[in-house]
Amino acid sequence: MSTAAQEAETRARGAASLLQVRDLSVRFPIRGAGRKQWLQAVHDVSFDIGRGETLGLVGESGSGKSTIGNALIRLVPVHSGEIHLGGTDVLAAGRRETKELRRRMAMVFQDPMAALDPRSTVADSVAEPLKIHRLGATKDRRARVTELMDLAGLPSRFLDRYPHELSGGQRQRVCIARALAAEPELLILDEATASLDVSVQAQIMNLLRQLQEELGLSYLFISHDLASVEHMSDRVIVLYLGRIMEESPRESLYSEPGHPYTQALISAIPLEDPVAERERERIILVGDIPSPIDPPSGCVFRTRCPLAIQECAERQPPAHRLGPGHDAYCTRAGERVTSET
């Protein structure tokens, strides 16, 4: 899809675009292999995130979903492509601009115990972005921290506690309070609920949705869990081996998945009803995800695809439009995978 068409669509959605990513590629050198080899982690990925919008990035391990999040805040070097945040060219930014960009984009990681300094109190952790970006007067800091903690649903009696004194859910709330401290526009949530207990995941997802409503935040919600992605996202991108397989508004992705990989992913989720779960027809993919060092020619999913034909090995499938904003990168997009295929 052309950039112009994408922009037209963004306007049609009514959401002003905050983040634009174009043809993003990230690769890592493989050392000690004799001839120089590259691990292609992300390949030609393009997407937009509107203001107040949540884009879900879903994929299995090795799909490149976390690398995309890391590339946005330049935690990993970008090989090619463009990233713009609200008009600022992220990849051309100098030191000062990069610092400002990192104020505007904040990250929440999977494991809050690893993300928090065990020797810092909750108040110190939450105040850190305020210090780094010199926001507000020092004397007002504690009041601001209390306010942030309140936003994240933490009582002020936790101010002087240490991470080990908190539960997993409370720690993740501290990370969220800290991420909000410098008033970012975009939160990158990288498996932010994955390490939490089921009953606590719901609390954190509710909190995130509520904060988005109150503060008009944009989210990049990165997860392997399709049900959580459905709950959180307005639009969803399905990744496999660093490439976009399908991109769609939430409803049509889940009701009419057009890519055979998306269909397999959805059919792999265990259903809550044990009878339906046992009787359902499941698409079982054969084999394993191929090596990103030496990906298959043409469509990277073809080696495991139940619908693969000769043509799939010969060229990278172009986007197939399946509905408004719904594209599947598959030669046989829209066809159903059944047990006979």
Binding site: S61, D197, V200, S255, L265, L271
Partner: protein
């Protein structure tokens, strides 16, 4: 019902002053799968590991763990360590969450598969190699001849977990114990492994104890489910009964707090708070602090018993989702329940 292959009666695990598992009973018959569901700290793993003599060394373990071997019942908790080790290697198979750390990185797949049958079944090298090839085929590993010579690092996560299952089944154990066996895997790989396990159960009829935090995974594989929380069994029933006529507010909360595919809601019904600290369990109901149904001060002060509310369905609560107090003979209706009917 067929006789139990493994039966745990009144199992308690105490470390110092903390009773981290309290009075847990369940059983699993040959050819059946028991699912144990719980969050972190619920005692689900430690109860099963302690029953197999693999609990923490400092723990005091009370109760009976009866393993039926060739029709004779033996108590694992009262036998000497050397005998327990022999029985564990031969009669119990274990699959843990992370196959990367459970397999020995220094040994070939072949060696790890042949060790058990040689040590415990007295097989020769030739016999055990033949057995290893059968096992690899059984769990769906392509090109088994070549795989015998592979090392764990040469295999993907899904393949390693298949190998773990093959190792666990190598001595044809009475009971297979799987502790979060698919949790570390991708969903499509999880689907492959669950498929393989279901197929194996049909063919081998090994009694299986499946421990997981994921209700849906357990629902798809277990015949009976035990729900644990704060070291106790809160609910126990046959799988379909448990899912369709959930009685305990905690079990209901677990269902409701997951987003359900294709049923998006504005707010998930979360369970407030966090699971209790096993070192300081409350005197009343362990779930009281987080319960949305709690009726009166009895929940805080009295400890509810595990009561059979209908045949095979056990609930530990003064207030059930059907509004009845199982401690009373007559169904006394309490206030309306805040949860919507679960399908």
């Amino acid at each position: 019902m067929s006789p139990a292959a493994l039966e745990v009666r009144n199992l308690s695990v105490t470390i110092g002053q903390a009773r981290i598992v309290r009075d847990v009973s369940w059983s699993v018959a040959k050819g059946e799968t028991l699912g144990i569901v719980g969050e972190s700290g619920s005692g689900k793993s430690i109860s099963v590991l302690s029953a197999a003599g693999l609990g923490p060394a400092s723990a005091r373990i009370d109760g009976t763990v009866a393993l039926t071997i060739d029709g004779r019942e033996q108590d694992l908790l009262s036998m000497p360590g050397s005998q327990l080790r022999r029985i564990r290697g031969r009669r119990l198979g274990f699959v843990f969450q992370d196959p990367g750390t459970s397999l020995n990185p220094m040994l070939t797949i072949g060696r790890q598969l042949t060790e058990g049958p040689e040590v415990h079944l007295g097989m020769s090298r030739t016999q055990s190699r033949k057995r290893a090839l059968e096992l690899l085929e059984l769990v769906g590993i392509p090109d088994p001849e070549r795989r015998l010579k592979s090392y764990p690092h040469e295999l993907s996560g899904g393949m390693r977990q298949r190998i773990m299952i093959a190792v666990a089944l190598a001595c044809d154990p009475e009971v297979l114990i799987a502790d979060e066996a698919t949790t570390a895997l991708d969903v499509t790989t999880q689907a492959q492994i669950l498929d393989a396990i279901r197929d194996l159960q049909n063919r081998l009829g090994t009694a299986t104890v499946w421990i997981s935090h994921d209700l849906a995974v357990v629902g798809g594989i277990a015949d009976e489910v035990v729900v644990m929380y704060g070291g106790e069994v809160l609910e126990r029933a046959e799988t379909v009964e448990l899912f369709r006529s959930t009685q305990h507010p905690y079990t209901r909360g677990l269902f409701e707090s997951r987003p359900h595919l294709g049923e998006r809601v504005d707010q998930l019904t979360s369970i407030p708070g966090a699971p209790p600290d096993p070192r300081a369990t409350p005197p009343g109901c362990v779930f009281w602090e987080r319960c949305q149904v709690r009726g009166d001060k009895r929940c805080r002060t009295d400890h509810p018993e595990l009561v059979e509310t209908s045949p095979g369905h056990w609930v530990r609560s003064f207030y059930t989702m059907s509004g009845a107090d199982p401690h009373q003979d007559t169904a006394s209706t309490v206030r309306p329940l805040p949860w919507k009917e679960h399908r």
